[in-house]
């Protein structure tokens, strides 16, 4: 079945008809032709298709297109200024070696943006957590994390409670 939806796409209002079974990724790539968002697995395991819906990073391959009705969608094409000036996170990825083959980069950058929009002072452990669902095979993540750190406002001063989880637990004495 098809239905009409209205949403904000990279700052512009948009009304169109979508099929119920379409994923948001299909809508973005195949219907709207914005191919910056990548499909790496189609099953929510790699994060290459990450976009921002109402401020939250989501895997667009697992998100139904019809669900975007009434919401705000930002894809990688919506980050740079109209004159081509890169968003600070994009600039940081470029300058700190956060990009090699580049296939994971749009999704990675969108995850980083969702994090830093919410918490400009994200700590390293929070950065790792935010992009843990974005797989990269080229960089070993080191320069990606450096890039996101460079784009952030820096870790806050003073003591701060960061929850230990799983692997980050200190070794048993």
């Amino acid at each position: 079945m098809a239905r009409e939806i209205t949403f904000t796409f990279n700052g512009n209002p948009l009304t169109l008809t979508v099929e119920d079974h379409w994923t948001l990724l299909h809508l973005i790539r195949e219907e709207l032709g914005t191919t910056g968002t990548k499909e790496g697995c189609g099953s929510g395991e790699c994060g290459a298709c990450t976009v921002i819906v109402d401020g939250a990073a989501v895997n667009s391959c697992l998100y139904l297109a019809a669900e975007i009705n009434g919401r705000t969608l930002v894809t990688i094409e919506g980050l740079a200024a109209p004159d081509g000036t890169l968003h600070p996170i994009q600039k940081a990825f470029v300058e700190h070696g956060g990009i090699q083959c580049g296939f994971c980069s749009p999704g990675m950058i969108m995850s980083a943006k969702a994090l830093l929009d919410e918490n400009a002072h994200a700590a390293e452990v929070e950065i790792k957590e935010a992009v843990a669902g974005n797989l990269c095979r080229c960089t070993g993540y080191v320069q990606i994390i450096e890039s996101i750190k460079a784009a952030s406002a820096g870790e806050p001063e003073g003591p701060r409670v960061v929850a230990w989880r799983g692997d980050d637990l200190p070794p048993r004495s």
Binding site: T35, S43, G97, S105, C138, G140, I144, I145, D167
Partner: protein, 776 residues
Amino acid sequence: MPDLQTVGKRIPKIDAADKATGRARYIQDLTLPGMLYGRILYSKYAHARIVKINTEKARALPGVRAVLTGDDIPDIKMGVYKDNRPLKKGKVCSYRDEVAAVAAVDPQTAREALKLIEVTYEPLPAIFDPEAAMREGSPLVHEGHKTNVLRMPWKLHYGDVEAARQAAAFTVSERFTTTWVTHCCMGTSGAIAEFDPANHLTIHTNTQIPSLAQKDFLEALSVMGLKERRVRVIKPCIGGGFGSKLDTYAYEYIAILLAYHTRRPVKIEFDRTEEFLATSPRQPTVTYITQGCDRNGKLLFRDIRMVLDNGAYTSWGATTPSVMMMPITTLYRVPNVRFEAKCVYTNNTYSQAMRGYGNPQATFAIESTIDMLAEAAGIAPIEFRRINANQPGDVSTQGLRITTCGLTECMDTVKTRLEWDRPKARGEGVGCASLIHVGGGARVYKSDGCGTIIKMDDYGRIDLFTGATDMGQGSETVIAQIVAEELGVNVDDIHVIHSDTDICPWDVGAHASRTTFVAGNAARGAARKIKARILELGAKELNAPIEKLVLRCRHIQHLDEPETKLEIGKLLRKAHFNHGGQMLMAEYFYDPANENMGKDFRGNMSMTYTFGTHGVRVQVDEETGKVKILNYVAAHDVGRAINPMLLEGQVYGGVMMGVGYALCEQVILEKGETMNPNFRDYKILTAKDVIPIEAPVLETHDPDGPFGAKGIGEPGCVPTAPAIANAIYDAIGVRITDLPITPERVLAAIREKKGLDLCGRKRGVDPGETCVIEEG
């Protein structure tokens, strides 16, 4: 080297902004007018006769434009051994065998059509263990081949290993195994093929070997009856390579065949499951190794016998023993060496090249036993390695000529940076392993060359056409830096074009860590020709002697009189817009003076060699078997870092891939069938698994490298596994000899050492219950 402006600087990748904005176009992002979508039907059995294929229903499905089976296509042979064809005929030899293919108006119709193809199989006995496949009476994967052992000549013996064994004060022997791991390129495989009315082919494809792929496809056209046609290979932006794109594959030929039959462009694009099932992983190995040394720790001999699981067909994986010979004969000074490798057909998936090309498998066995030998001789691991370290000027038994070599310095760096001797907690350990890899090209083909063409416009800007392939590693940028340095211009002034065989010169491919060295020297050669012309023109224009002129900051300038200068663009315009005008263009083809392996495999395969030592500090949880990496130092002698930021990216990425190889990655094949074709079950490391890595760089300024550089693409993942295995041994006293080193394996080894069974019970207690621990 005096005063470099561009080389040695942390310059961002030229294409990074395109990739950061989503503008870069990968094969997934390309469509052509009228394009059809192809899909492939794979085998349902590991080994079976194809009795009948009924395609009638599929052909009748609206939207289907072509259905092909092995009977519909000419006898196109693929692969190194020419033992494979795009669509199988008569029988299938593995689960990934291509049985039929369709082209349809949209992907959904193509998928539907596959379901309508009815294949009747008659299952055959299959063989999955390469050592069992070597035995008399084993089922034959290819009956015509008479044996499962490939007729490949991987056998050498230098010196006298038996005499050295007698003379050795200490010897150690062990068996090591490695398993399938796969590239996991984030961008999946894909190709679009299209014929023009004269049957010239254009193929857009993810490849690391555009020139060799062009040759493969020309041969295929010839078999199709299309002789003397042209093939144009266009590379889109490549979403990761790591060796996976060093061969041409069935899907590319199938796209070509479907395009030919439909007279329309046809695209085949793998989904992630298909990428896991139908691309070629790293070659698994079984290695039997013995090494011996004298009383003072000097290595006397190394004796290795190896069996490689080739899988059902033969790609470059079967030639990895040629590269293994390099660490086997030349990692440390070893006077007596024997090596024999057998590649064996099985009904498993067939293997291919992957970053390191056999070197990680060989180095795992060598460097693990070096530690064992050091312990037997009572010498500290790093000291033992220092005693045997290669030195500049060495010529190894295989004839590899060591020019620059910073191996000892790499070991010292690891020892210092890792604080090797500091007190350790319970369960904490340190380990190291070294590497040698080709750093100056590798003559594995008739030519190891690369061509470059440069043209300059009226404004001093440069279009540079190179045969090199950038698949993310940054060769575009490194080449631009080298040329910018020669010509005194900025990296931004240089447009590097590497995407199209109609435009770009020949290159053997992006393999063997050769691109910076070979394509770098090719670009430098062309730039020097241009430079000579600019200086000539400038000398006339400025009325100054050539030897007094330099190119700097987009200007030609007098060395002693800085005011005597002219903008290069202005100089070029003067030369162009004149009677008998000229514009500057130059070409250069660089083929390094390395050697093909001769009789008995002697020969200096590379102009220079990259060395490195990796050190790692681990914490092992003896209750769970879990290994945590506390710190990792990967020190490399890289000749010179043309771009330290990109170089570090290669090392970090390589090390993390190596850590995955060591600890968690495995394509699980159950009787030939891939059980984990997804990222949930095939574990590559995530951002949360990032380890603290340092990548110190040692610059030995290789005389043959462009500005002194050697290759660094692969070394990062070469000695990772043995360094970690050695650290685990140091931590808890158990030696793991099989990859990956999963917590289950560590725990089993701990329990075995304590005389317990796998479930932690004393052997012989509770005889009624069985103890089973699933691996994976």
